[in-house]
């Protein structure tokens, strides 16, 4: 009896690390940078809205006015870019992206999505992402790359005019930037809701286990 209890204790005290320290650090730096970028970006949007009937309340914007918002936006962009770039480099170099996010198959995504919606998706092994997670995580990384590139093309439409042209010109790049932000916010809603529903996944992103 006592030996079994001791074994149990040992396994629950030192299970394998689900999220390595570099992932956790970069995840939370990214969370702060994203929130600063989104809130200040909404204030910048208000100065010249893309959609006539869409304005954002002061309660969810940052900077107070256009000038303040731009200061925040062009400060937080460094945090977002440097952290994001480091994440991509380490993610590819360590093989983590390949190991955790691939393969993604349409059939797998459909069956896992169906299982999730009917409450039959297992959350026992958090070290392996299901197909829906793989798709969303790979997708949000791609959106992150596009939002940074479209942002650069809006910031530097003369010096980086080849990049602006790639997005279809300055005015189109603004829409691309906005829709990427919208996709990130939609992702955040699902991401946070699921983290709350499966608290041990949130714990893993904080303490690693």
């Amino acid at each position: 009896m006592s030996s079994i209890a001791a074994t149990d204790e040992r396994t629950s005290a030192s299970p394998k690390v689900l999220q390595p320290a570099w992932v956790r650090t970069m995840h939370w730096i990214n969370a702060v940078a994203m929130i600063l970028m989104i809130m200040s970006g909404l204030q910048v949007y208000n100065a010249s809205p893309l959609f006539d009937s869409l304005r954002f309340s002061h309660s969810i914007t940052l900077g107070g006015w256009l000038g303040g918002a731009l200061l925040w936006h062009f400060a937080a962009m460094w945090l977002l870019m440097v952290n994001g770039l480091a994440y991509l480099i380490v993610g590819f170099a360590t093989g983590r992206f390949k190991r955790k996010l691939l393969p993604i198959t349409p059939g797998g995504v459909i069956s896992d999505a169906r299982a999730a919606l009917t409450g039959r998706l297992s959350h026992e092994d958090l070290s392996r992402y299901n197909q829906v997670q793989k798709l969303l995580y790979a997708g949000i990384i791609a959106v992150g790359v596009i939002i940074v590139l479209s942002g650069l093309s809006i910031w530097k439409p003369v010096q980086l005019q080849w990049l602006t042209a790639l997005f279809g010109g300055y005015d189109v790049a603004r829409y691309v930037h906005f829709f990427c932000m919208s996709a990130i916010v939609a992702f955040l809603v699902i991401h946070i809701a699921l983290a709350v529903l499966v608290p041990k996944s949130l714990r893993a992103m904080i303490i690693g286990r």
Binding site: V44, G67, L70, L71, F74, V158, Q159, Q161
Partner: protein, 263 residues
């Protein structure tokens, strides 16, 4: 708490820009200038609204320092050989938008016969120029995109003398750091232009919009058109230029817009 600090910095319900504007209106001009130049505007506001002054000003200072760093990064990114894209005349935005911190009816009304363009600072020939004299200089036309700091953009046609030709003509010391422009409007709009941008081939002393004499709305009698920067760096109703090594600030720059603001 990070969020607590951010919320204090936001000052919900108070539009800082309007408050600064109201506050500065009741001050005599020299005081107003110092008030804005000292960066006191936002710091003073945190005081006025009873927020934690330390948090407010330290956030301000951090953002100001990063903005200066961004000036340096943009100066490094700026390639004097790269031209702003040009467009066919058919792409010109009609009507081209009017924009300013004042309504169009309050825009300066300059009498071109009395107007003189003063040239000051590190130049050999400090003579003032009449409009008639300036009109005699060789002019070129450009159809380029005006990009506003607010985000919108519009394509316009501007005709005038390349600023670099004029700087050569008056014997400006082009090793200086800035051309500092002052304008005729009552609040004294001004803006510094870094010398490398001033020497960019497309930077222009503009006298015509759409082949017509520059209308009042777009800066009669002269604007400085800088297609490699955001719109607020292209001053209208220009009355003087000072070639200088000192950073003298600008109307919007002092309120927090990034000073380089390159496109």
């Amino acid at each position: 708490m990070v969020m607590g600090r951010i919320r204090k910095f936001l000052i919900p319900g108070v539009d800082k820009r309007l408050l600064v504007k109201d506050a500065t209106k009741i001050m005599p001009d020299p005081v107003r200038r110092r008030f804005i130049a000292g960066g006191a505007s936002l710091g003073a506001l945190t005081l006025l609204t009873g927020c934690d002054v330390f948090d407010g000003t330290s956030a301000e200072n951090m953002l100001t320092e990063i903005s200066k760093f961004n000036d340096a990064v943009q100066a490094w990114m700026f390639n004097p050989e790269v031209l702003a894209p040009t467009y066919p005349e058919s792409a010109i935005t009609k009507p081209f938008p009017f924009n300013g911190y004042y309504e169009i009816d309050d825009a300066p009304e300059v009498d071109g016969r009395d107007w003189k363009f003063e040239v000051k600072g590190l130049v050999e020939n400090k003579k003032s120029w009449t409009l008639e004299e300036l009109y005699k200089l060789p002019q070129v036309k450009q159809v380029t995109r005006h990009i506003c700091v607010e985000g919108w953009s519009a394509i316009g046609s501007w005709t005038g003398t390349p600023l670099r030709d004029f700087l050569k003509l008056v014997g400006a010391d082009t090793r200086s750091k800035y051309c500092w422009f002052q304008c005729a409007d009552k609040e004294g709009y001004n803006s510094p232009l870094d010398m490398r941008t001033a020497l960019h081939p497309q930077t222009q002393m503009t006298f015509k919009f759409g082949d017509e004499i520059l209308p009042r709305a777009y800066g009669y009698p002269m604007k400085i058109r800088v297609p490699t920067k955001l719109g607020f760096k292209s001053p209208k109703y220009v009355i003087s230029m000072e070639v200088t090594n000192d950073y003298k600030g600008g109307y919007w720059e002092d309120q927090g817009y990034n000073s380089f603001s390159g496109s």
